[in-house]
Amino acid sequence: MNAPTLTGYNFAYLDEQTKRMIRRAILKAIAIPGYQVPFASREMPMPYGWGTGGVQVTASVIGPQDVLKVIDQGSDDTTNAVSIRAFFARTAGVATTTATADATIIQTRHRIPEAPLTDGQILVYQVPIPEPLRFLEPRETETRTMHALEEYGLMHVKLYEDIARHGHIATTYAYPVRVAGRYLMDPSPTPKFDNPKMHMSPALQLFGAGREKRIYAVPPYTRVVSLDFEDHPFEVNRFDKPCALCGAHGVYLDEVVLDDRGGRMFVCSDTDHCGTRQEQGHRGDLSTPREGSAA
């Protein structure tokens, strides 16, 4: 409880009827993994594209005992993350954290935390465009039919185009997945690096698209398979160097431009993961020298 709760608002901003409606959509989404459930998305006190879908889902599942973490591109301290965290601190009075392990609900934009999620945690994704087939087939009636009849050949046309043009599957984010062997799903614009983390995850994964008015879900311990070709199997992004601050390998890195002479560094996109490792004494190439070490 880091800020006094606002008066005049219901718990977690949304009124109880709205939360019921959204919870019904969530339950349906969990019952049919990967299926996009329409819901009556509300106006939120933030613009579309800033996470209105995720905020509504979080508001509907959050309770007074929950501990909330919000990340934006892996970072706990960007505008979007800070303001959404403050929003729930003030409207629901819940505790907030930046530590992945301490959180019960994690709302995320474009990343899955590096630290493995555990039973009982809920990961809420902010989704801009829920329909993976949208750019291939503009008609909603047609994409719904394609989902209903499991006609997903078109998605492979996109991957084919990637290989024909670039020699490999060049889709690096919003990489399409099949959920529980049935529905084709857009994992929101997370890097494909995070796709394997969705597979058999112990955490409940909820996806909210506010502007497009859709909710979908991946229940805990559900198969999530990234699409690929037999001779061009799915691969995650690889990095040449470890994180410049904590020296971590096998994590997703952000490029940070250091000067106007081409200087750059690659650091963990997950700030909590990087910070924790630095506290444990891990150091990268560009870390400031450890206290007490030779000057």
Binding site: T145, L149, E151, G153, L154, H156, V157, K158, Y160, E161, I163, A164, R165, D228, F229, E230, D231, H232
Partner: protein, 259 residues
């Protein structure tokens, strides 16, 4: 025994748009390897008939039976949506007059040809690409153009690409709506030549709608003349074109310019 059954059997088919008639009381059979031309002037109901035959429009009256690959005749409008759509992208083909309607203009030629293969579950990039190269060759498109988008193709190439895209799953029945419309005469001649070769090689059954009697003469075995939504004359192509019985057919045949 099943070889004796027609591939497509149409009985008393009619389609009306409210009080207006698109076509009515059309009956015919097509056997495997047979090419049927439907001719008539604009507004005679040819395209309506083709759209009903290919299940893109629901008929007002009548029924269509199709001999499935297992040899059983089935009412195509009694099939489930899933079965019908599967039929449309495997066993049937549809060549539009405007290639932009039948192609995906934003993806490469190779992906256009490969789409049906991926739709039926092929997941090996190398094989799909190999088949695409093979089919581009068959329709006389340079294999070097495989990664180009159809919008960079000429009209004739687009039409040939559309044909390759349809034939890649070895359909047994192909519907063609004025496939040579909008092409200049020399390109038309090459396309017809190509089509004739493919139809003979693959043993395709074709329903081709055209207003060009020369196309009908070159490609089809049998012909159906339509006027005001009804079939007024049917028969072997040579017979109907050389010795037309109905006054309207005589008019149609005599209006062809003799060069």
């Amino acid at each position: 025994m099943t070889q004796d059954l027609p591939l497509l059997s149409v009985r008393r088919l009619g389609k009306s748009y409210g009080a207006r008639t698109g076509c009515r009381d059309v009956s015919f059979d097509i056997h495997a390897g047979e090419v049927l031309a439907v001719v008539g002037e604009s507004g005679s109901g040819k395209s309506t008939l083709l759209n009903v035959l290919s299940t893109q429009l629901a008929p007002t009256t009548g029924e269509i039976h199709y001999r499935m690959r297992d040899g059983v005749m089935r009412d195509v409008f009694a099939l489930s949506d899933a079965e019908r759509r599967f039929l449309l992208r495997t066993d049937w083909g549809f060549v539009h007059q405007d290639p932009a309607q039948g192609l995906r203009m934003t993806v490469s030629a190779g992906a256009n040809v490969g789409e049906r293969l991926m739709a039926v579950g092929q997941r090996h990039y190398g094989h799909i690409r190999h088949t695409a190269v093979d089919w581009l060759g068959r329709v006389e498109i340079d294999a070097g153009r495989i990664d180009d988008a159809p919008r960079s193709f000429s009209g004739g190439m687009r039409q040939r690409l559309q044909i390759a895209r349809n034939l890649v799953t070895h359909p047994r029945l192909v519907f063609m709506d004025e496939p040579t419309g909008g092409l200049d005469v020399s390109v038309q001649a090459r396309l017809l030549d190509l089509l004739r070769g493919l139809v003979a090689d693959l043993g395709l059954s074709v329903v081709i709608v055209t207003h060009d009697l020369a196309v009908a003469r070159l490609l089809s075995h049998r012909i159906m003349v339509m006027r005001h939504g009804t079939v007024i004359e049917t028969g072997l192509t040579d017979q109907v074109l050389d010795d037309p019985r109905e006054p309207y057919t005589q008019l149609l045949v005599s209006s062809v310019l003799q060069v």
